[in-house]
Point group: C2
Chain length 392, copies 2
């Protein structure tokens, strides 16, 4: 496998885009990433597009081909990939594989979703397609219901954590407030979180990520390409992709031995730590899949940032804040930045690249290694990426 670099990233705002079509959102992100990378778009060898519910909510499939055409990319293989909320991560990993395996020198990954125009019931029905309808459909659970159960199981195992879970929300909302791309940054108190509307007991409104539109993209290149570009002036520092791992986990709820952990995450981080020799203690920050407040806690334990049962404590003690031991979701995460499903995995890469370049609005000091973590469905798919400053 060859060295691979992120030469450029681009993103739309995450939020409500009533005046842009799903293809326009994706094209805007691709164009921004190409401009940032200062590459000739005709050098592109492959496009991967992550999207989850475009067919159901916008009536548009073949998005990879449409976006390639509208972004005036050459007629190269253009593939939509889908793995629910991990679709963007899967797109990134396939662009990485294309360059790492020597299939092409420049590959573009883009993720996109457009959801805010649909009714809540349409969105819920579409998102539920990420469950195993044969085995879980009859449970009547939606994703807030699933993570509400996980929250209850976590409390039955480790004791009551409401106040500590609220700290995750307070932190991510505050981080989001400084992130110009974020949909729902805010200064909120734990009391406000706990008094917000009940969604799926014990999850409150502020425990849940919003419904979002948006797109994010990355241009990945080989080392030779980077060497050539580094001679140019005004070129942003490239970021090396140390590894990109995709796993397949248990796709149905009752198949999990515990809802306090996702096997797909545990296997993915184990593989990426083993293959790179980098461990959780080496990470300067993490962008992880906090679709719900409790998810950030489960994920931070699965990733090995803190011991089992201590994720909530760590958040509450400020150890995961910017300036803490290991900042989690300095972007605001899904909770505050938003969760345009197919775009999220690439949005995380966007944030990580800004951190590693040293120009993030919530900059982590001396950030040289970051991890992104993107989880799909009830744990059916996971992608983790390790990124490093190229001069680190």
């Amino acid at each position: 496998m060859r060295q691979v670099f992120v030469a450029g990233v681009g993103s739309t705002l995450f939020g409500e885009h009533h005046d842009s079509s799903i293809t326009e959102l994706a094209v805007n992100a691709v164009n921004a990433a190409i401009k940032d990378a200062q590459i000739d778009r005709n050098a592109t060898g492959a496009l991967y597009l992550g999207n989850f519910v475009g067919g159901q909510l916008t009536g548009q499939e073949v998005l990879a081909g449409l976006v390639a055409d509208k972004a005036r990319l050459p007629c190269v293989p253009s593939t939509k990939v889908e793995g629910a909320c991990a679709s963007g991560g899967i797109a990134f990993r396939h662009a990485w594989l294309s360059v790492a395996a020597g299939i092409c020198d420049v590959a573009i990954a883009v993720g996109v979703e457009k959801m805010s125009h649909a009714t809540t019931s349409q969105v819920t029905a579409a998102l539920n397609c990420a469950m195993d309808m044969e085995r879980d459909g009859a449970s009547g659970l939606s994703f807030p219901g699933l993570f509400g159960l996980a929250y209850r199981m976590y409390e039955s195992k480790y004791g009551e954590v409401r106040q500590k879970v609220s700290s995750v929300v307070v932190k991510n909302k505050q981080n989001g407030l400084s992130n110009p791309l974020a949909q729902m940054g805010a200064t909120v108190s734990a009391i406000e979180v706990e008094n917000s509307m009940l969604i799926a007991d014990p999850l409150r409104l502020f425990d849940c990520c919003p419904i979002s539109d948006g797109a994010a993209a990355a241009v990945l290149t080989s080392g030779a390409y980077i060497t050539e570009h580094l001679h140019r002036t005004g070129y942003e520092l490239p970021v090396e992709v140390l590894g990109s791992i995709q796993t397949r986990g248990v796709p149905f709820i009752s198949g999990h031995s515990s809802l306090c952990s996702f096997q797909a995450t545990v296997e993915a981080v184990q593989k990426i730590y083993d293959s790179t020799g980098i461990g959780p203690k080496d990470l300067d920050f993490v962008e992880l899949h906090d679709c719900f407040s409790i998810a950030e806690i489960l994920d931070s334990e699965d990733i090995g940032i803190c011991p089992r049962g201590e994720g909530a404590h760590w958040a509450h003690e400020g150890r995961t804040a910017v300036g803490g031991e290991i900042p989690i979701n300095p972007s605001g995460g899904l909770l505050a930045k938003g969760h345009p499903v197919g775009a999220t995995g690439l949005g995380q890469v966007y944030e990580a690249v800004c951190q590693l370049r040293g120009n993030h609005p919530n900059q982590v000091r001396n950030a040289s290694i970051g991890l992104t973590h993107n989880l799909g469905g009830t744990g059916v798919a996971c992608v983790v990426n390790l990124l490093r400053r190229a001069d680190a």
Copy 2:
């Protein structure tokens, strides 16, 4: 790139499967392919699943992870890919890439669709997501309408061809009659074709492929794996994949300079001929994307089997029948075998492998090289594969 072989194939019947879910269809095809290849399923390094409208018509996404779980494959990357009617071909190409680029030694590709339970209007609306809704939606065209236009353009360029086009239908229906997997094989006369119900002038019912359920799968392996297996007794002759090319074409109708040709096909075959040194005259048979009778004629010209304007003549003169110069769609093609959209590209590979093993129900004598051709949307994506008997 390493040599890659198809070690095994599997398929369900193409037709109506009211008693099987979409995941069951795919799992049945995967299990059949694994049994045929005589591999240990735990050797699988990647799964690619091609599907188009599963979300819209069955309410089920994350199909790659679900099928991997139900087929008891290891927890390896399991990815759904989508490119409308070319989804199955794209899945095959990515499994091929995985092995060719040395990412893994065994990869499985499966394609699946379940449509027959839905109403015609639901199916039409879902299939129309393969069009560029922003640029073509207002035209009111469905795919029969598009290919009806192509038929008219072909006639305006080359003169009236109704009787010759009917020969394509008569041939494919007859081929399908001997294919036990085919949904709509029949002995029909040209008169019956021409008197069948008008669908989208000038296309008649028998000019159109049916609405189908089904799945097909292939196990792809490296040369080392094949060498090990060839020592076993009773092992089917492997088939070498000489090349697999995916292109991106014009995704909207008015973007085509002519509807008598699809640029995505022209580029794909040019690339595969250039990269392998094999030309259309070297082909012993072709399985191509005859979603409509006229499509077989356009495709056969794009693939270089016959000169421009002569596709209809060749069919009429029997030159594309089994026993003719270059048999086209000995399986019955989409017209007679059926078109479970996401499965079609892999169904073509299944048929080609049977031909190259010498055990096809419509066997082409001394078949040693075959081409499969899978086209998506209004020409937005195309995959062509060149397959060869491993002892040829």
